[in-house]
Symmetry: C2
Subunit: 333 residues, 2 copies
């Protein structure tokens, strides 16, 4: 498989996105985020998404000229309108606002409306952890999962991410979707012609399936059954009702060319430990809890594997499939 | 089984708690919360807890004379110290502060430290929904679940609750613990001499068990496997690292007489829809999403059953087991 340095792969992705219509800023923010996912071993959320993003920029499902703006703000609350551009510049603006507002007001909640796919949720919390603040991220996505007791997909797979800075070293970084598995895993399996385990998805008739394509046309199963479906409802409401964004069932799939502007939503909660029990207490509690966890030999800290892979990618670069490399080179012109 | 009106049962519970050492305010706040749980059909979190609370008040694990106070505040962030009293007055103070601060700053995060069992998490969000605000509640509890990959219980069952007010009628009320089932269900099964399904708990050797007593001595299983364990970690950190409260593994069980002051933590997030996309947009989005959900015949809205049972309890009163009634009457003197 072709291997790229992080900088080279990011430049390639950015050129492909810019050629499809993204502004320089949007292309750069998006490329950096996708390559960061590849570096962390999350290929399903990496530059494999560039061809689809490029199609959406070309056919108008995403507006490459959009400039994200703050449309409402009050104290710790702020609403960013992505104006139907790709999500990354809007999320960066929202997080930057949330950090500044949390420092001033102790806590901040930044919503993003009229947005698009925001990739790896935890990525956006990087600056929050670097600022020594606690952060949570939420997002919805085109309908993938039914409500508890239902059959029709309504909610997205609705990721939740969290960052907790530590005294030394990389912050704890937690990132999970509320489906049993991320939809991206079905997309990768479908591309590779592999089957999926029972329990990941239902087909369009509501029956269990091992065919990833049938699963993508049907519905994903929530993690934890009814409880997972209830958490998906909470995330869906946080990122749509508070922001005005589209509900999953109103947004066309990211995985097809044609469709509407998804106009989905994201939200970022940022809390300053200094405004509550204080920074010293915070750091002591985090390290005490981590110490307890690591006493069990089988425990790995969330984010540790991703951080280690990212460090390795800095030295060794990133391999991507030959076919994808060809697609990206072709899109970049 | 003996039947009480809501007022009579609350008076009985309050007298029992006051006789064990709770201040009038603490006894009343606690009794009202427990009876509300019984009214909603949640007997495991109702007045069945009074004998244990009374023991903790008597032996000093809870301080009946404690007065909860705000110990730190900055903008939307506020920290309440329960001072090792029962949790209910402290949670009421935290929620009241969070509502006022969310109205002023758009969003508020209220932590509670040095706390005790806070019963049904969603109960505390009642005033948030009545104020037309969105609320989330989090809490930890004495160690019940291991970290992902671990065997030793560290986290509590760590409930998450949410309230989303609607245009008309009762708010959506979501409430779940992150264990496969609430620990209270094992306690009820143990009291009734019933077995529990495999998948609810492990015994102290880390083996699956159908014996609720063995499960209470062992560990609860998180809902959704690794993802549930990661969410439990997020909740644990939110309510301990930000507040200074004890980690689950540092707190003695609620279900035994002897032990330390649990000093666990709670947190309440309150967001004002008017500070983001606005109240009209918020209400439209909520009703649109609910409309989508109810198109599937099998879907029941979260909280609907509890609300209906509570309304029935107003008319018909609440039945409790004979043995419990005897205990309460005896404790009340």
């Amino acid at each position: 498989m072709p291997r790229y340095t992080i900088a080279a792969l990011s430049d390639l992705a950015a050129r492909a996105l810019a050629r499809a219509g993204a502004s320089q800023e949007m292309a750069r923010a998006t490329a950096d985020a996708l390559v960061a996912a590849d570096a962390q071993g999350l290929a399903s959320h990496g530059v494999s998404r560039v061809p689809q993003y490029a199609t959406h920029l070309s056919n108008g499902r995403a507006d490459g000229g959009a400039v994200a703006v703050v449309v409402r703000a009050k104290g710790g609350a702020v609403l960013v309108d992505a104006r139907c551009g790709l999500a990354f510049p809007a999320c960066a603006l929202a997080v930057s606002e949330a950090i500044a507002r949390a420092r001033e007001h102790g806590v901040a909640f930044a919503g993003v409306t009229n947005s698009h796919h925001f990739g790896v949720a935890a990525y956006h919390l990087g600056p929050v952890g670097e600022a020594g603040l606690v952060g949570l991220a939420f997002g919805n996505s085109p309908a993938a999962m039914p409500a508890a007791g239902g059959r029709t997909p309504i909610f997205g797979t609705n990721p939740i991410a969290a960052v907790f800075p530590r005294r030394d070293g990389a912050p704890l970084s937690i990132d999970l979707s509320l489906s049993e598995v991320a939809r991206g895993k079905l997309m990768v399996a479908a591309k590779e012609g592999k089957s999926i385990p029972v329990g990941w998805a239902l087909d369009r008739d509501g029956q269990p399936t091992t065919d990833p394509k049938a699963g993508l046309e049907g519905s994903m199963l929530p993690m934890g059954g009814t409880k997972g479906a209830m958490l998906a409802l909470v995330v869906e409401l946080l990122v749509t009702a508070l922001t005005g964004a589209a509900i999953g069932a109103e947004a066309s799939s990211f995985f097809v060319d044609e469709g509407n502007r998804p106009r989905i939503g994201q939200a970022f909660l940022v809390i300053d430990p200094a405004a509550l029990a204080g920074r010293d207490v915070y750091l002591e509690r985090v390290e005490t809890l981590i110490g307890m966890m690591l006493r069990d030999a089988g425990v790995r800290l969330p984010g540790a594997r991703r951080t280690a892979l990212a460090a390795k990618a800095v030295d060794e670069g990133i391999e991507i499939p030959q076919a994808l490399a060809g697609q990206l080179e072709s899109l970049a012109g």
